[in-house]
């Protein structure tokens, strides 16, 4: 039992580490990120002053980098849902050390993604018209509805399983941290004392939430795809679009999660909890979704390409042979095929290989979103020369600022909240220890028997 207590203490120390110690490197990172965001704010002020004329978008390619980035961010927000909800439902216990990070990614990506829609508006001053005059018939309203629902649900889903850990922070940091921190944890722990009844409520709340959040997440990216699929543009006119977007969303979400995991693991020394096993398992999952993406691409491209209806020939030419060909082939080979190879070949099936694959996937999926938007609009509708589009410095700056905001929010989150789901990891560890020792199945360990004791100990 002593060994178990040691282990438990070490886990708590690791979880508390980022909150207790803040080095110079942290402030350097924050400063750099703030500088990038500041530059982005300057670019946005230029856009507000002069209008969207400072972007590369024009009448014929009227959406560009902003909308692509919006779709990309909403896509990576699916990391949290998948890892924690789907794996929780399927009772995959290896997920416990990474769930919290995944849920951070979800919330932060949603916030960043939603802001890109506002950035793209010609009249951001009238954004409230969406609530005042909103029409149910418009896909944009479906989006507003879906994204706000998803944001609320994922914040709840981040918060509820965090309550016992917040209580741990409240108790461990009592009197040893600044006053605002103390009151923050006290408020957020909402009086958690690890009583059996509280554990029962928590387990049932998580049970309900993890089921609820899956359909919400699936519907969100489906609805995002409908912004495109509800128009008559040739490359967007597809019933497959919703499923295709959801698959791509989960795919890119896993990739971003792997990258975030790798960075946090190194920064906060989480090697004991986030092991190579987690990278490899996520790599397998990513490879599986790469296969789904390949299937969806073949299905989509063959159905349209076989018949080559009006406009499709132009679209295929620009994708496979002309303007967009190099990056599109990178997407197909580097973004979809390479991750499968990397996950399957034993020599590359390690942390480094999987992280490299995740970076490839992230790049490829951003490119894919960009191509969906830009190539879709580029197919001429009337007898005119095809338009061209190149993002300007304003758009690139805002993209950089969006990514910096994403990184900054995650960084700040790790400084405020437990990055590891302490009680879940502990429960998992105990379960496996007991299982190994006595052969009692893990399911038989009642959460209400052991974990509250630990939390109460922590409270003393």
């Amino acid at each position: 039992m002593a060994a178990l207590n040691d282990w438990q203490n070490r886990l708590e120390e690791t979880a508390l580490g980022p909150v207790r110690r803040t080095g110079r490197r942290f402030w350097a990172v924050v400063a750099i990120l703030l500088a990038i965001i500041g530059w982005g704010l300057y670019a946005y002020s230029v856009q507000l002053r002069d209008g969207l004329v400072v972007t590369g978008m024009r009448d014929r390619i009227s959406w560009g980098l902003y909308i692509a980035t919006f779709v990309f961010f909403i896509g990576i927000s699916h990391a949290g849902t998948l890892i924690s909800a789907i794996l929780r439902v399927s009772n995959a216990r290896w997920r416990t050390p990474v769930t919290r990070m995944a849920e951070f990614v979800t919330v932060v990506a949603l916030i960043c993604g939603a802001s890109f829609v506002v950035i793209d508006l010609g009249r951001p001053d009238r954004v409230l018209n969406v609530f005042i005059y909103g029409r149910w018939q418009s896909p944009i309203i479906w989006d507003v509805l879906a994204i706000t629902t998803y944001l609320t649900a994922s914040v709840t889903y981040l918060f509820v399983p965090m309550i016992p850990d917040l209580a741990l922070f409240r108790d461990r940091l009592a009197g040893r941290s600044s006053r605002w921190r103390g009151s923050l944890y006290r408020t957020l722990a909402i009086g958690w004392h690890g009583r059996p009844a509280q554990w029962r409520s928590l387990t049932s709340a998580i049970g309900v939430l993890m089921i609820l959040i899956i359909p919400i997440a699936v519907s969100v990216h489906t609805v995002v795809s409908w912004i495109f699929a509800m128009t008559m543009r040739v490359p967007w006119d597809s019933a497959l679009f919703g499923a295709f977007f959801v698959a791509g969303a989960i795919f890119s979400g896993i990739a971003i999660l792997i990258i975030v995991m790798a960075i946090l693991r190194r920064t906060y020394h989480l090697e004991e909890y986030v092991t190579e096993k987690h990278f490899v398992y996520l790599g397998y999952l990513m490879a599986a979704f790469a296969a789904i993406m390949i299937y969806a691409n073949i299905s989509e491209l063959l159905v349209h390409g076989y018949k080559l209806q009006e406009g499709v020939e132009f679209h295929f030419r620009q994708l496979f042979l002309a303007e967009f060909a190099p990056l599109f082939w990178f997407y197909l080979l580097g973004g979809l095929c390479a991750p499968i190879v990397i996950a399957l070949v034993p020599a590359t099936r390690n942390v480094r290989g999987i992280v490299a694959a995740a970076i490839l996937v992230t790049l490829a999926m951003w490119i894919e979103r960009y191509f969906i938007v830009v190539t879709g609009l580029r197919v001429p509708l009337m007898p005119y020369e095809p338009a061209s589009y190149a993002p300007t410095w304003v758009e690139w700056s805002l993209l950089a600022a969006g990514l910096a905001a994403f990184a900054l929010l995650i960084t700040l989150f790790t400084k405020l909240f437990p990055i590891i789901a302490v009680w879940e990891v502990a429960e998992d560890h105990e379960a496996s220890a007991v299982q190994a020792g006595t052969g009692i199945p893990a399911r038989a360990i009642p959460a209400t028997a052991d974990s509250p004791r630990l939390a109460e100990e922590a409270g003393r």
Binding site: G51, D120, N129, Y133, T152, Y157, R233
Partner: protein, 340 residues
């Protein structure tokens, strides 16, 4: 976590005091005395979590907020007509007119014969102070099956099943009883989904401060007369229903030197190009009229009679037209232009 609690509570209480109630709740909870550990222990906690769960659900009817705002009379969007829209034009016996445009391509030579930019486009630009590079009435040059080209003057097609109206999130673009599609630039949020939805490339965005001459700033704006242009909003051909109502033909028709364009009312079955009045249905049927991209099911109100300017003496193998000009550019102060 405040939003969820708010949402959940607003469902339970449905009044404006929920804000206060929530803050009470949040501040009370952590210091609440421990409850007896009997069967009912942790009831407060449990209910709290349940409320949290409900919060996740109750955000679902979020757009109800807009209904509430409307009910509250903050924005009386449903009952009040969109700014500047006149009463629909009616026939003598009171039926609402259904405006239409019939373009006789046999008579359109793209103004090659007079060596000028297309006069319909020019008249439209001058009449509406349409900013460069907007050609609400644009003359496209399309290839003919056997080689050579034809000119296709293309206004907004005024669809009866308009994709742009369907997708607009705020109802800034709308169909009128007369069957025209208009845009209220004072409501438009500039999301541009209508531009993605329009299959005819007939929508234009004010990417910057639009180049308009000073006199345009004096105009009385209405969705039927989109002057002056407003930055960050979408514009297009409005079919000039305000002019039609007063018995005047749209600028493009007035400008056409070949009288190739007819404007009319399908309800009364009349159409005129400014020189003759004809039966719209006869003109359409007897000349094999068609509509653009008819297979999309958008039901345009603009009809074309096939041709390549032969009635104006044009040779189909004589391509090219003069580029469109915006005559007041030097008088438009501080204006920026952009390419299309």
């Amino acid at each position: 976590m405040r939003p969820q609690i708010d949402a959940a509570n607003s469902r339970l209480m449905n009044d404006e005091t929920n804000e206060a109630a929530v803050s009470d709740r949040v501040s009370d909870d952590p210091v609440a005395p421990p409850q007896p550990t009997t069967n009912g222990s942790g009831f407060g906690r449990r209910r709290f979590l349940r409320v949290l769960g409900l919060g996740a659900l109750s955000i679902v009817p979020l757009p109800v907020v807009s209904e509430l705002i409307r009910e509250g009379g903050v924005a009386d969007s449903q009952s009040e007509p969109v700014h500047g829209r006149g009463a629909p034009a009616r026939t003598r016996d009171g039926r609402v007119r259904r405006w239409t445009m019939i373009i006789d391509l046999r008579a359109c030579d793209g103004c090659q014969s007079i060596g000028q930019p297309p006069r319909c486009t020019a008249a439209c630009i001058e009449g509406h102070f349409a900013p460069e590079p907007m050609e609400w009435m644009q003359v496209f040059e399309a290839d003919l099956a056997g080689g050579g080209t034809q000119f296709i003057p293309t206004p907004c097609q005024q669809c009866q099943n308009p994709p742009c109206v369907n997708v607009c999130p705020v109802g800034a673009t709308f169909s009128t009883p007369e069957g025209t599609v208009l845009i209220d630039q004072e409501r438009c949020i500039g999301c541009r989904i209508c531009m993605a939805a329009c299959p005819y490339d007939r929508r234009f965005f004010n990417w910057g401060k639009a180049p308009v001459p000073p006199e345009a700033l004096l105009a009385d704006y209405s969705p039927e007369h989109q002057v002056p242009a407003k930055k960050g909003t979408v514009m297009k051909c409005d079919f000039c229903p305000d002019m039609a109502r007063t018995g005047t033909l749209p600028y493009c028709i007035q400008g056409c030197p070949q009288q190739a364009i007819y404007y009319g009312d399908l309800e009364e079955d009349v159409a005129t190009n400014g020189r003759e009045v004809v039966s719209a249905s006869r003109l359409l049927s007897e000349n094999g009229a068609y509509r653009l991209k008819e297979d999309l099911g958008t039901e345009p109100r603009v009809y074309y009679i096939p041709g390549h300017g032969e009635a104006a003496g044009r040779d189909a193998f004589d391509p090219g037209r003069s580029p469109t000009e915006w005559p007041w550019m030097e008088r438009a102060e501080g204006a920026v232009t952009w390419r299309r």
